[in-house]
């Protein structure tokens, strides 16, 4: 082979290779993952609960997103492969007005990945120095003692979001706004109680929307063992067997207790009770 022939072969080979490379399919980018927030679970980081931490369930089966903006940490969980992959925070964008987010190109090359472990109802992984646990909100340490609506909503996303989502009956709210009778309400509830998680955000939204200073609410979180005589607190001597227990007082005496069953409509129940007071 002459040098000229060798050069032309080399040029041909290079050109062929370039064409093949150009025609080869690009590495498939991972499909975007759409996630919606889930307030049944909470995110624990090193034993604390960052107020802005959120847990999302992906529309893609088996995928979940943990987003903690204050710690610049976002992790996409893939249960089938038992892996948690770090995703850049700027790849998480709102998707529509219903609180969904879109995670663009999750699990890109070089993204740090962490092993997952499942311990019964708890999902656990360690991301760098952070020990992260995903658990049911009812399994979190209970809110115990008096608390304001604002403090509760700030600390417990399931209450905050439940309050936001509830749409009280405007006629009943209007009636509550007009109330002039001085009413004291004592509401005992448990953040560990699944039933309270459904009912109490509705009730608190009603009190908030009524915004009537004649309706004074004392909100008290009870521990799981409130019925135990060894657990002192404002719940002692109140004679209730179940939570939530909502007591209506007028002129210093207890008039009645509100029904807090699952289908109850608190604003209508409360407006009816107040209208019955002579």
């Amino acid at each position: 082979m002459t040098p000229k022939t060798a050069i032309s072969h080399a040029i041909l080979a290079t050109a062929t290779f370039s064409v093949m490379v150009a025609m080869a399919p690009a590495p498939a980018a991972a499909a975007d993952v759409i996630c919606r927030a889930n307030y049944e679970f909470c995110v624990e980081v090193n034993g604390a609960y960052p107020p802005d931490a959120r847990f999302f369930v992906a529309e893609t089966r088996g995928k979940f997103l943990v987003d903690i903006p204050s710690q610049s940490k976002s992790v996409l969980i893939d249960l089938p492969t038992r892996r948690a992959v770090s995703v850049p925070r700027d790849s998480i964008k709102p998707d529509g007005a219903d609180g969904k987010v879109r995670v663009a190109d999750p699990g890109g090359a070089g993204a740090p990945a962490y092993a997952l472990s499942i311990e019964g109802p708890v999902l656990r992984f360690q991301a760098d120095a952070s020990k992260v646990r995903i658990l049911k909100v009812t399994e979190r340490a209970a809110q115990v003692g008096p608390v304001t609506i604002e403090a509760l909503a700030a600390d417990r996303p399931e209450y905050r979001e439940g309050m936001k989502a509830y749409k009280p009956d405007p006629v009943a709210i209007e009636a509550l706004k007009k109330n002039k009778k001085p009413i004291e309400i004592e509401a005992f509830f448990g953040t560990w109680c699944p039933h309270c998680k459904i009912y109490m955000p509705k009730f608190l939204r009603v009190i908030q929307d009524a915004g009537n200073p004649t309706i004074k609410l004392t909100l008290v979180g009870v521990p799981k063992n409130w019925g135990d005589d060894k657990t002192p607190g404002p719940w002692q001597g109140k004679n209730f067997q179940n939570v939530p227990a909502i007591m209506i007082r007028y002129e210093g005496r207890e008039l009645t207790r509100m029904s807090a069953h699952e289908g109850a409509v608190p604003e209508v129940d409360l407006a009816t009770l107040l209208s019955a007071i002579k």
Binding site: E40, R61, K136, E139, P194, N225, Q241, E262
Partner: protein
């Protein structure tokens, strides 16, 4: 009352020292009234439990003293014992023995409920079946009243026996055997439409689910009720995943009476492709005897009911094709 068995009145008999026959008769009548009342209570308790033996077994196991398998064996036996005692009291067969055993059983139930309260238990005992809900405190009060009836039977009726003793004994034996057979066969008996509130044509409001089911599901959706503690729920979830992933089918949603911890553990293990919501057990319990159970909702009404173990995949796919 003093004296020995040889010289004084027999234990349990009505004292006749004052010679008042009228008083003695009145007390005997009171004893019979207590016997019949106690027998009727135990008959009702046993009969109501037969309707849903599996739920009674679950409630028995929920005290934590025995496991679910042993509870599944003990539950029919306990129902048969209650019916046997009821039959003995009502038929007047060995009344004193029956009343003493009934009293001891009630004392055991009271102790069990007391222990349950100390453990923070608030769930109903299932003493009158799955569809009667009472707090442990109410159960204790009731049982104390029934114990008083048992004491009245022992004290006022003494060694009273009916004239046709053999017939009474035969009735007790027949009732016991029949109850045991019914209790064992109960889960397979087609009695769901009579004992649950789930029926074709019922609205979601009537079922108490209006607040739980999203509007989209109320408009048209397949609702599954799953017991997450049951290993069969994983197979059901796999089949529901297929349905949830098939375009054009109604939205799939599952409700479960399981605990929050069971819900979370199931989610991590089965990662269902459909929404899975926990709901109060008393709310859901009115809808089923056995799980899994599926029902189709259209325009807020139950259109079809499909008892488990698998969802109606073929039905839904064929309705889609047609």
């Amino acid at each position: 009352m003093t004296g020995t068995a040889a010289t004084g009145p027999a234990i349990g008999s009505v004292p006749a020292g004052d010679g008042s026959t009228g008083r003695r008769r009145a007390l005997t009548r009171l004893g019979h009234a207590a016997r019949i009342a106690l027998g009727a209570v135990f008959l009702a308790a046993g009969a109501l439990k037969i309707v849903d033996v599996a739920e009674f077994a679950r409630q028995t196991a929920s005290y934590g003293l025995i496991g679910p398998r042993l509870a599944a064996v003990i539950a029919p036996g306990l129902i048969a014992l209650e019916i046997a005692l009821a039959a003995a009291l009502l038929a007047g067969c060995h009344v004193r023995v029956a009343a003493i055993v009934t009293g001891l059983l009630l004392a055991f139930f009271i102790a069990l409920e007391g222990w349950g309260i100390m453990q923070g238990r608030i769930e109903s005992c299932g003493c009158f079946g799955a569809y009667v809900q009472r707090t442990p405190q109410e159960v204790i009060l009731e049982d104390l009243l029934f114990t008083a009836l048992a004491v009245m039977v022992v004290v006022f009726l003494g060694a009273w026996e009916p004239r046709r003793h053999r017939l009474a004994a035969s009735a007790v034996a027949a009732a016991t055997v029949a109850t045991l057979g019914l209790a064992i066969a109960s889960p397979r008996l087609p009695i769901d439409p009579w004992v649950t509130s789930l029926a074709v044509g019922r609205t979601v409001e009537e079922l108490g689910l209006a607040a739980r089911l999203p509007a989209e599901v109320q408009a048209g959706g397949l609702v599954a009720i799953l017991d997450l503690a049951d290993p069969a729920s994983k197979d059901a979830a796999a089949a529901l995943n297929e349905l949830a992933a098939t375009p054009g089918l109604p939205r799939v949603l599952a409700l479960t009476p399981s605990t929050e911890a069971e819900h979370a553990a199931f989610l991590w293990q089965a990662y269902p492709a459909f929404d899975l919501l926990t709901a109060d057990r008393p709310l859901l319990k009115r809808l089923y005897r056995r799980l899994p159970l599926y029902f189709l909702v259209r325009s807020g009404r139950v259109e079809a009911i499909y008892p488990g173990p698998r969802p109606p995949t073929a039905d839904l796919l064929s309705s889609k094709a047609s």
